[in-house]
Structures are given as C-alpha cells and as structure tokens.
Chain length 388, copies 2
C-alpha cells in the first residue's frame, strides 16, 4: 500500500426528507445563492422544497448551469455572488451544477485571471492561491459524478475540459435523497451508473499494491452497480434500488477507494475529448472507451483484470486471456443492459475522425496517460480504433 | 437502507514516516500536551520521533494513561491542561490513550461535575453541554479500536465502562504508521484483530436492510482480517500485512459501515462487564462472547448470518442451521488461530460467577441489548453460559 493522506469533511444527509437539515447547517443570517441547471428542479418541485427549508433567509437564484459547465456561465454567477454579497451557495442539481458551483466558489474572490484556476491540472488550489472561498452545500438530484463528496470539478473552456481540485471546495454538506432521482430520464440514470462504475475501475484496474480494503470496497461498489443497474434504469420509483445507486456513486469518488493505490483515469481523459468534439454524453463516452482500454492495456493491467474477472464476475476458468476477454465482454454487456451503446460507430464517429481526438489529447498535454503513463497518443489511437 | 447522517473530518496520515505531517497540522505557536500510556512509546523511540517534528513548540507530557482509562487519571490530565494553558493535545498510543484524551478534551473546561459526561450513554455531547473543547490529534501505535477516526470513547469509572460520544472530539488528524506497530507484543496484535473483527460484525450480523455497499465493505474488512490475521500476529515487521491490519481496524469503526444499518453491540456490552469484573482484556472478551451471541441469536440474525457464512466463509451447502454452525465454528477457529482463547472457562470464570455479570449488566441499565433489544438479562445469561 502506498503512503496516503485522506481528509473528507463533507457532511452527508442521506434519505427521504433529509433536505430539512439544510436549515440547521446553513447560517441563519446567510444570504443564499441557489445554483441550478436547466430547470428540472423547478419543474419537479425540488427547488420549492429547498426554499421551504431556507425559511426567512434572503435567496437569490442562478439557473442555467449547463451540462459540462462552461467557464463563461460560471463567471456570470461569480459576478452575482460579488454584487449580491452572497454568504453561502446551495447547489441543487447533478454533477455539473455542483462542479460549476465549486468553480464559482473559487473564482468569485480570486484576484487574478480566473482561467489560471483551470491550468493547474490535478495540482490542488490552496489558500495561498485563493484567499477567500465562498462556502457551499449541495442537494443532489443525479447520482453519478461523486462531486457531492469530493474536491474535484471539471470545467469546460475553449473546447477543452479542465480538472479543478481544491480541499477548500468540499461541500459543507450534501443532501442525498433518493426520491429526488425519481423524475430523471432513463438515459441520465444509465449515464450515472456507468460514470460511477468507471470511476471505480479507474482506481481499481491498475496494478496490485496489496491494498486489500480498497480493492474489496471497489469490488463491492462494482458488484452493487451490476446488481441494481438495470432495475435502477427501469424502475424510476424503486427507493431501495435508487438508494443503493446513489450511495454507490458517492462512495465511488469520495477518495476512499483511491487511498494508497495507483490510479488510471485514461478512460476519462479520452472520453472528455469525445464529449468536447462530438457532444457525446460523459457517461456514454466511458461506456465506449473503458472496454477498449481493458483490451489494449491487458498486459499492464493483467493482475488486476484477473482479480476483477474472478471477484466481480465470478469467472473461474480459462486461460488468462480468455478470462480477461470474458470480463470485457461481461462489462460491455452490462453497459448495454442499461441501454448504453458501447461503440463509437454507434454515435456516428468514423475512423477518419480519430485523428482529431488524438490531436486534442496532444493539445491538452495528455500524452502519457494511465497508471504507468504508458498511454501515448499512439496507444490512445489504438484504444479509439478498438472502440469503433 | 435507513436514513442517515455521516460526518467524519479526521485527517488521516497513513504510512511510514508520515508523522512528519504533525508539524504542518498543529498550530506553530501551540503549547502541546503529549498524552501516552505505560511508557512503551518512550522505550521504542516513538515519542522522540514525535517530539522532533514538534520543533520549537513548548511541550508538556502526561504519561500513565492505563488500559481502560480511568476517570480519575484523566481528570488529573485535565488539571494539567488548565494549569499549563495547553492549546493542543497529542495522544501517542493505542485506543485507551486516544479514548482517554477525548475525555480530557471534553472534561477540561466542562463547568459541571465531569461524571455527568459519563452518564449520557450513546447520546452525543454537544456544544451546548461543553462550550470549549481542547483540540487534539493522535499518533496511533496499536491498531484495534478505531478511536483514531471516530467520536467515541469508553471510560472506566466506579467498576463500570461508560461510552462517551461527541462530534467535537474527532481527532483533527491521526498518524497511522504501520512501523509503529512492530514493537507490539503478540497478544496486543491479536486483541486488535479481534476488536476490529467484532466491531465490524456488530454493524453487520444484525438484519438486512438492503444496504449493499455497507454490507460489502463490512465483508471486505472481515475477509481482510481473516487473510492477514495470523501473519500479523506472527510476523511483527511485515509492513504490508500490518498496513492492511491498521487500515482495516480504522475502517471498521469510522462510521462508514454503520451508516443506514441496524447495529448490535451486545458482544461489547457483555464484554465490558467481563473486563470490569475479571480483568480480561477487551479483545479477549469479544473472542469469547461473539461466537455465543451468534449461537444464541441465530434466529433473529438468520438472514445476515447466512450471508456472512456464504460471502465471508464461502460456505455454500448444508441446512441453514448447519451453515450457521459452520460459520460459528470457523469464526471461533479464526480467533484461536491468533492465539486467543474462546471460552470463559479458559480464563478461570466458572458457572457460579455468571450471575455477577448479569447483575452488573442490570446495574448499568443494559437490559435490552442487540439490534432489536431482544437480549434481556435472561438472554445475556444464556449467552454467558454458552460461552463457558
């Protein structure tokens, strides 16, 4: 096991009706900005419920944070925070709204050009870079990204997607009420399951470092997602299934399965370029790319892929390659059982467009991906071809 | 899954050499009280390492916190904190030192009679009860109790053991360096494994509530402890094994496997009385009592015991009772493989002494134990008899 540091102070309020807790957790005299996305939280009454529990606090709203939240949109929100002297932000929505809100919290009082904050990669933003950060909490409506209990955000700017990390943007609290997912379209539920699944494998199918608890937690999340995935997509009001879906997605990326182990993230990096270039949903890109990553990187990942095959899929016979092939097949089949496509060609992407993806990776400096930096642009091209 | 609230802000510094981080995490101008136990941290040089990283801070020491820390000892330490104007306490030791330090933090500036703080059971102590709490961090030397990443303490007073819970006593940080366990006597290592194991089952072998992630995390901890237990006892300098042992023990009681599920704790409550009456080590009492609890409570726990048998012990044939019998046998055998005794009689306790244990439970109000309050004094007597 590698040495590690772990810290996660986000308070989780989980379950039906737990939104009432926001009244206790937001300062009574705070002026609150509610951030949200396309308006479904209005349509389905979630925003009204939230406002009820804000009582007499002054409330300002900022809607319209788009999927893959854009820098320009978020800077407009930061201006609102400054002009209205907002004390606390409450993000009501999915990963994009929460990611966007984290960036608003950092950018509002940043003294330089806020695009600086996009250029640090995975190096965290600390108090010496941004002195004053607006505190925020979240009410989650879409279980997928894990943003409700971590420090990360992905921000879109100039046709690229940029990670932004800061311990200062842990949500003070996140409300996880499974009933808030009942109104989601099936495609978003399926995307969310694939997102949580691939978050988990990015931290698991690498190489072994004898981190037994982390491995078993990862396997437990994967097994749970496999068990409940199809039902979660098809039974929109199945509380128990949605509760397990929601907690799985949070646990997949709150830092716990990451401690002391190598991490990959190649699938996400390649997927981000597909979203930026072709507008394919984030979850959809992952369902296409991850099986191809397993296939192409089967040698470097051999030990963990065999463990994945055995423990997650109960594959206990065949040669190593046969076991890995079957694990890839079963993974792909699982994604497809959720209604996801697992081929680039299904989204109309053709072989002659792959060069543009590789160029975008190069432009963004993503030329040595994966847990051992082995995925050069050449290997990325091979993965994309295998995903066609 | 039940509704839940989860919050755990303790920062974990895990791995060899991570003690260096205390310099960054303790305020530079803090006057520090180091609390410790019987002196092994002095003997094995851990205290010297700690002091090196405290730099020029003023340091006061308070040693002699005993196993099952006593109220009277801790009140003496609280007096030192007041008289010396201590800003920060650093607990260096195992669960008893950390538990004791939590109580010192709460008792120092409590305005009433500090024995009040012992009489709240599992009701947490909040800021309206104790206004000023001294902050503390921990350097763990004995992986067992989980106290390094939770809010709980167990304090001995007047021949009883009393739980004390407060969100205000989460350690600010805990250093978990597996090499600090290399000098432990075998019996303490074995006690620690049993303690972590039984912490896990207290939150797992109850009744199912469709909490899949929590179940699988619990099973992962149990499987890990079973895999590494004997080696951890026998190979004192096996870093990887001790690292897995250490992280298992922390994860077993940091609140994560407890969220949204019923909890038992009967084994602990009965065990506490055995420690108080006969001086049997905490871990030893658990190894004796838990198999008997499984046996006596097999009907109420049936579904989870069968799941435990199947997933943890891979028992996949036989009648329900045969499977449960085999799971009990294997659990007992595992404890014995660590060098633990699993019978009260092995500690010289005889049938005619069991009445005193039941009376002590009654005196402490522990007359409706277990996840469904089914363990009356009569049932406790049956468990004790089965454990003879």
């Amino acid at each position: 096991m590698y040495n590690f540091e772990f810290y996660n102070p986000t308070r989780i309020l989980f379950g039906k009706g737990k939104v009432e807790g926001i009244d206790r957790l937001i300062p009574a005299d705070a002026k609150v900005l509610i951030t949200y996305g396309g308006g479904s939280v209005k349509k389905f009454g979630i925003l009204d419920q939230v406002k009820t529990h804000l009582g007499n606090r002054k409330v300002v709203e900022f809607g319209g944070i788009e999927p893959n939240p854009h820098y320009e949109t978020l800077m407009k929100a930061a201006e609102v925070v400054r002009n209205e002297n907002i004390d606390f932000i409450l993000a009501v929505g999915g990963g994009s709204v929460i990611d966007g809100t984290k960036f608003i919290c950092l950018a509002t009082y940043y003294k330089g050009d806020a695009t600086d904050l996009l250029r640090r990669g995975f190096r965290p933003i600390t108090a010496d870079i941004v002195e004053k950060v607006v505190p925020f909490g979240a009410v989650l409506t879409l279980p997928a990204t894990g943003s409700e209990m971590n420090t990360g955000a992905v921000i879109s700017y100039d046709h690229g997607k940029f990670p932004v990390m800061s311990e200062m943007t842990y949500p003070k609290f996140s409300v996880l009420d499974p009933t808030y997912t009942f109104s989601l379209p099936k495609i978003q539920v399926a995307n969310g399951i694939v997102d949580a699944f691939v978050h988990t494998v990015e931290q698991y199918t690498t190489f072994p470092v004898d981190a037994r608890i982390q491995d078993r937690m990862a396997e437990g999340i994967l097994q749970t997602l496999i068990e409940i995935g199809e039902t979660s997509v098809n039974e929109s009001d199945n509380y128990d299934v949605r509760a397990n879906h929601m907690w799985s997605a949070t646990m997949a990326l709150n830092g716990l399965i990451a401690v002391g182990v190598p991490q990959d993230w190649a699938t996400h990096m390649i997927g981000h370029e597909l979203t930026a270039l072709f507008g394919i949903d984030h979850g959809q890109t992952l369902a296409v790319i991850y099986p191809a990553v397993m296939d192409v990187c089967r040698e470097q990942k051999k030990a963990k892929l065999l463990q994945y095959a055995e423990r997650v899929w109960k594959i206990d016979s065949g040669s190593d390659n046969e076991r890995i092939d079957l694990a890839i097949y079963k993974t792909r089949h699982f994604f497809e059982s959720l209604g996801m496509k697992t081929r680039l060609s299904a989204y109309g992407v053709t072989a002659d467009q792959l060069g543009a993806v590789v160029q975008a990776l190069e432009k963004h400096g993503l030329t040595a991906l994966s847990e051992n930096q082995s995925i050069t642009p050449e290997v990325s091209r091979e993965i994309l071809q295998r995903a066609l």
